[in-house]
């Protein structure tokens, strides 16, 4: 699905990266811990999170994620927004809770980028 479809499915607002809405989203990953983002996410994934510090953009950039969707109406500050523009990572915000957001996107056909963990933590 495209980022535009993600926006419409979750009734999200585009914070930055308006021109990137045609981007194809291959899979998604939801996390509130940046440790999880760095350890378990997959290249090209959409990150669904409530974490809005600039470090979420650094982590997404390190892991080559394609966009960030903030849940619960969370809105990043100016520093996070500027960094995201610089890194060309589109930011969106939806009022839906994490569970509902993931459910809506899953129902639409978006798949996970890590199904299960091995040995408790190792995502493959």
């Amino acid at each position: 699905m495209t980022l535009k479809e993600v926006k419409e499915t979750t009734n999200a607002e585009v914070i930055s990266g308006d021109h990137d809405l045609k981007k194809e989203i291959k899979c998604a990953f939801a996390a509130e811990l940046l440790s999880d983002v760095l350890a378990l996410s997959q290249e090209g994934a959409l990150l669904i999170t409530g974490f809005t510090h600039p470090q979420v953009v650094y982590a997404a950039d390190a892991a080559n994620l394609c966009a960030i969707l903030f849940v619960r109406g969370r809105w990043p500050n100016e520093a996070t927004q500027q960094l995201a523009i610089q890194k060309k990572i589109p930011l969106l915000s939806t009022s839906y809770m994490m569970f509902e957001t993931c459910g809506l996107l899953y129902e639409y056909g978006l798949k996970t980028c890590a199904l299960k963990t091995e040995n408790g933590r190792d995502g493959k």
């Binding site: 940046l34 440790s35 350890a39 290249e43 470090q55 953009v57 650094y58 950039d61 390190a62 892991a63």
Partner: protein
């Protein structure tokens, strides 16, 4: 760890200030820029960026100060992180998934899940970790540039 110190193409050292969560990610971002400019394969850049981010966070979370040095040679890249801080009393325990001594502040910043060191090991080809409790920690890792699996654009 290697005998090719004479072949270093790029060497850069960064200072990391312990406890400075506001700037977390800045050093690994600069490392990523250098790797991109050096034209390294996408997969090498991703693995190095993730391992460097984790290493940078460890210094910010558990040390007073530290230095992160990047060395690029024709065959591999090496990152050396030395810090003055808590140190690690039991390295085997610290290397196991999910073990963490993080406090509330570290968790507030999205870290401290006990996945940093195991994640560095997963994203690198060689890793050496030594530590003196209450003195500091020395971490080195290598990612080979001439291995087929590191040349692929995706995992």
């Amino acid at each position: 760890m290697d005998g090719t110190e004479n072949n270093i193409l790029i060497h850069k050292t960064f200072h990391i200030e312990g406890g400075n969560f506001q700037n977390a990610g800045l050093i690994s971002d600069q490392v990523k820029k250098i790797l991109k400019e050096a034209g390294l394969p996408k997969k090498v850049i991703r693995r190095t960026s993730i391992a460097t981010f984790e290493a940078e966070m460890n210094v910010i979370c558990y040390a007073q100060r530290g230095n992160l040095s990047l060395f690029i040679t024709p065959n591999f890249l090496k990152v050396v992180v030395e810090d003055e801080g808590h140190g690690i009393p039991d390295i085997n325990l610290a290397m196991s998934d999910g073990y963490s001594t993080a406090d509330e502040k570290i968790r507030e910043w999205g870290f401290g899940a006990g996945m940093g060191l195991p994640n560095i090991r997963r994203n690198t080809d060689e890793m050496v970790l030594t530590s003196k409790f209450r003195e500091g920690t020395h971490l080195e890792f290598i990612i080979y540039l001439d291995r087929q699996e590191n040349m692929l654009p995706f995992e």
